[in-house]
C-alpha cells in the first residue's frame, strides 16, 4: 500500500510540534525516520497510527484520503504500529496475543481455538518463527514478544508497518533475526517505517531515510546517496566529532577503590570477581540477560547476594539497602528510567535533589528551597538541560534531558563509585556525545565508573577495561587496546 501525507501539522496546547509534513512511503520499501528526541518523528508516526489526530493536513492511502481517528481505524485501514517495548498480555498465549481484538467466534461467540492456533502457526511460519502458539507469552524473550506483535499486525492484514525503535531492547543477534523478517515482509510488498537512533542499522536495512528536526521534515534521501556524517548534520544542524578511542589505556595509579570477590546470587550470577581503580571506567559488555544489571543492583544494595565479598577502600562492606550504599559513596543510574530513575509528575528540582536529603535541609529537616534551586540550576547550566524552569515536571522533558537530570542527581551525591546502567538508551546523538564528555570528565576527576552498556562502540570508546559477561558469569576481562567488537561478541555469545 502506498501512503502519502500532505501538509500534516500538530499543535499541543498552542505549541507547534509538527509542521507541514509531506511524506511518502512506497510498498515494498523500508523507510527510516531519524531525528533527535523531540524532533517530531514519534508524533508523526502516532498520527499515522491513530494515537493522535493531526491539527491540519491530509493522509492518503493508495491515493484515497482517509481520516485516521483512532488506532482501530488505523488498523482497519491496514496501518499497524509496533511498539518499542512490546505491549503484550503476558499471561495469555501467543495465539491469543496475535488475535487479540479480532478473534473470531462461532455462533455462540465461543472462541474457535483450533482455528486461531492454526492461523497463528501459519503466520509465525510465514515469517520463519518456530514458536508454539499455545505457550504463554511470559516466558518469551523481548525479541520474541516483538515478533509476536509483528505477527499480530500480519493477522490484521496490515499493509503498512510502523516500527518505533524496535531494535533498542534487542541484542545484536536478535537484531539480525528481526532484519531477516523485515526483509521478508518487504519482499512481500509491505511498506515499512523504521525508527532508530542507530545509523549502522538504518544503513543496513532501509531504502530511504527521512530526517526530522524541530518539528520539520528536513529532507528525504536514498540511503545510498547520503553519508552518516550528512545524516547527522541534517539531524542536528551542526557537525559532530567522531568519538575517539581512549588514548591512555592504563590508569597510572594503583589505588583500588573496589574489590569484588566471588560474588554470587543463585540463578542470577555466579562467582563474579573484579577490581576497580580510582578514575577508571570499567565497561560491562554482554547480551541482555547476562546478569550485568543484577550484579550492579547487588553491589548497590537493591538486591541481596548469597556469597562473596565486597571490599571498598580496603574494608569489607555490605550495602543492605540503596540508602547504605549511597552513604558509602555509591551511585546507580538505573537502566529503566521511567520505573526507577525519575519521579514523573514531580518538579525537576525535586528530582535532582532527591538523593541528598541532608544537603538540602537543616538539622530538624526544614528544606532550604534556595539551596535546592541553586544546586539544580548549577547542573541545568553545566549540562545544558533544556527546560522552562526547575519547577517544570520532569516527565515533560525529552528522554535525553531526563537522563541528564538523573546524572545530575547522582553527581550531587558526590559518589566515589558511579554505576551507569545503559546511560544512553533512548537518547539522541547530540546528548549522547555530551554524555560521553561528562563520563570521561568524571573519571579524570577520580570517580570510579562501572559502565554497563549493550552498545559496543560506546563501551569501546569509553572504557579502560572491559568485562564480558555471559549467562551470569564473567567470560573475559579485556584491556581497551586488545578489545574489538568481534572479540567482545565472541565472548558474549556461545
Amino acid at each position: 500500500m502506498q501512503l502519502k501525507t500532505n501538509n500534516i501539522g500538530k499543535t499541543f496546547s498552542g505549541v507547534n510540534v509538527l509542521r507541514n509534513v509531506d511524506f511518502d512511503l512506497k510498498p515494498g520499501e523500508v523507510h527510516a525516520l531519524v531525528g533527535e528526541n523531540g524532533a517530531g518523528k514519534s508524533t508523526f508516526v502516532k498520527i499515522l497510527s491513530g494515537v493522535y489526530t493531526p491539527t491540519e493536513g491530509k493522509i492518503f492511502l493508495d491515493e484515497k484520503q482517509v481520516n485516521i481517528t483512532s488506532p482501530i481505524v488505523a488498523q482497519k485501514n491496514g496501518v499497524s504500529l509496533i511498539h518499542q517495548e512490546p505491549q503484550s498480555f503476558s499471561h495469555l498465549s501467543v495465539a491469543e496475543n496475535i488475535f487479540m481484538g479480532h478473534m473470531e467466534g462461532n455462533n455462540f461467540s465461543r472462541v474457535k481455538w483450533q482455528d486461531i492456533n492454526n492461523k497463528s502457526n501459519e503466520i509465525l511460519e510465514s515469517i520463519g518463527l518456530k514458536i508454539d502458539p499455545k505457550i504463554i507469552m511470559e516466558g518469551l524473550s523481548i525479541a520474541d514478544q516483538q515478533m509476536i506483535e509483528i505477527a499480530g499486525a500480519l493477522s490484521k492484514n496490515s499493509k503498512v508497518l510502523i516500527m518505533d525503535e524496535p531494535t533498542s531492547p534487542l541484542t545484536p543477534n536478535e537484531v539480525g533475526k528481526l532484519f531477516d523478517i523485515v526483509n521478508k515482509l518487504k519482499s512481500n510488498g509491505m511498506a515499512i517505517i523504521f525508527i532508530s537512533h542507530r545509523l549502522e542499522e538504518i544503513r543496513q536495512i532501509s531504502d530511504r531515510v527521512t530526517i526530522f528536526r524541530d518539528g520539520d521534515l528536513i529532507t528525504t534521501k536514498n540511503i545510498n546517496e547520503v553519508s552518516n556524517e550528512e545524516i547527522i548534520k541534517f539531524m542536528i544542524g551542526r557537525n559532530i566529532e567522531e568519538i575517539e578511542v581512549k588514548e591512555n589505556q592504563f590508569i597510572k595509579n594503583d589505588e583500588y577503590i573496589l574489590n569484588v570477590k566471588n560474588l554470587s546470587l543463585s540463578k542470577k550470577f555466579n562467582d563474579i570477581s573484579f577490581n576497580l581503580k580510582k578514575g577508571e571506567i570499567l565497561g560491562f559488555a554482554g547480551l541482555v540477560g547476562a546478569g550485568r544489571t543484577e550484579v550492579a543492583k547487588s553491589i548497590f544494595g537493591a538486591e541481596k547476594f548469597d556469597k562473596g565479598e565486597i571490599i571498598y577502600n580496603g574494608e569489607t562492606i555490605v550495602n543492605n539497602s540503596p540508602n547504605e550504599a549511597i552513604n558509602n559513596g555509591f551511585a546507580y543510574v538505573p537502566e529503566d528510567r521511567k520505573q526507577m530513575g525519575i519521579f514523573g509528575p514531580v518538579a525537576v528540582e525535586d528530582n535532582v535533589t532527591s538523593a541528598i536529603p541532608k544537603e538540602i535541609s537543616n538539622s530538624i529537616g526544614l528544606i532550604n528551597s534556595k539551596t535546592v534551586s541553586t544546586m539544580t540550576n548549577d547542573y541545568i547550566n553545566k549540562f545544558n538541560i533544556i527546560l522552562t524552569s526547575g519547577r517544570q515536571l520532569i516527565e515533560e522533558l525529552s528522554g535525553g534531558n531526563q537522563q541528564k537530570c538523573i546524572i545530575s542527581k547522582w553527581l550531587l551525591s558526590k559518589p566515589k563509585v558511579l554505576i551507569l546502567d545503559e546511560p544512553t538508551r533512548g537518547v539522541d546523538v547530540g546528548v549522547k556525545s555530551e554524555m560521553y564528555e561528562i563520563i570521561n570528565k568524571l573519571a579524570e576527576e577520580g570517580t570510579a565508573i562501572i559502565l554497563i552498556s549493550s552498545e559496543l562502540p560506546e563501551i569501546l570508546s569509553l572504557s579502560h577495561r572491559i568485562i564480558v559477561m555471559r549467562e551470569g558469569k564473567i567470560t573475559k576481562i579485556l584491556n581497551n587496546k586488545e578489545a574489538t567488537q568481534e572479540k567482545i561478541m565472541s565472548y558474549a555469545i556461545n
Partner: protein, 326 residues
Amino acid sequence: MLKTISIYLNENPTLRYWIIRPEWVAVILLIISIISSIQLSPFFADLAFIMDSATPYVEYGLIAIILTLIIISGEIDLSIASMIALTAVIFGTAYNAGLGMPISMLIALFSGTLCGLFNGILVTQLQIPSIILTIGTLTLYRGIAQSLASDFSLGGYPSWFIGIDYRYIGIVPIPVIIFTVFAIVVGFFLSSTIYGKQLYLIGTNPQTAKYSGIKVDRIKLLLFTLSGLVCGIAGVLTTSRLAVARFNMATGAELEIVLMVMLGGTYIFGGRGNIFGTFIAFWIVVILRAGLNVARIKIESQLTILGAMLIIAIILTNYIYSKSQK
C-alpha cells in the same frame, strides 16, 4: 481565551502549580455550602454554632490528617474506624478493671499503636496491598472489640473526664483547638520538611524512591503506626464525648474520613495532595452534616449525599490532575 490561558500557564510552571490545584475545589465547595446553609438557617452565620457542630467530627478530622499522609505516600488505611472502637473498648475495659485513668489512657494509646504497627508490618514486610490488608484488619479489630465488650456500654468514668466537647477556650471548643493545631503542625511538616517531601516522592514512584536511598518501608511502617496512635487518641476523645465505650462506635467512619481526604483534593493513587485541602474538607463535612440535620434530612439519607460527594470529589480531583499534567 481559554487557549491563551492554558498556553500562558504551560509557560509558567510555578503559576500553574499554584492555580491548577484541586483544593480550590474544596474551598469553592466550602463557600457554597456556607452560603446555602445560611439560606437554610440563620444559625450558620453564627461561628459558635459551627464550632459546636464541629466537635463530634474532630476525632475523624485528626485521623483524616494522618490518612492524608498515608494516601500521599501511596497507601491507605481502612481499619481506622475499627481502631477507634477497639482502643475505646480497651480503654473502658482497663478503667473498669480498676487500672486508673492515666494507665488506662496509656494502654489505649499503646494498643492503638500496636494495631497500627501490625498493619504496617504486614503491608511492608509481606508486601500485601494496604487496601486489602486493612479491610481485613477492619473486620479483625472490630471483632476483637466486640468480643471484649459484647453488647455492653463501658461507662462509669469520673466527671472531669466526660464531655471534653463542652470545654471551651473563648468560643472555641477544646477539640477544635486540638484539631486546628494538629493540622497546622502536620501541614507544616508535610510542606516544609524533607520528610514531607519524601512522602510525595514515595507516593509518586516507590521504585525510584528506593533507588534514591529513601527508606520507603520504614517510613510507611511509621505512618501506619502513627495512624494507630492517633486512632487511640480519637478512641479516648470519643469515649470522653459519649461517656461510654461500645464496640460499634464510629461504625462506617472510615468512609467519612476518606471523604474528608478525597474532598480535600488528595490524589487516591498517591503523590499529590495536602493538609490544607483536608482541613477545608473537614469543615465542608461539618457544615454539610449540620445543614442536613437542620434541614431535617434523616441520617440514613445523609449517607446518599455524602456518597455522591465522595464520587464527585474523586472525579474532580482526577480531572484537575489530568489537566495540570498537560
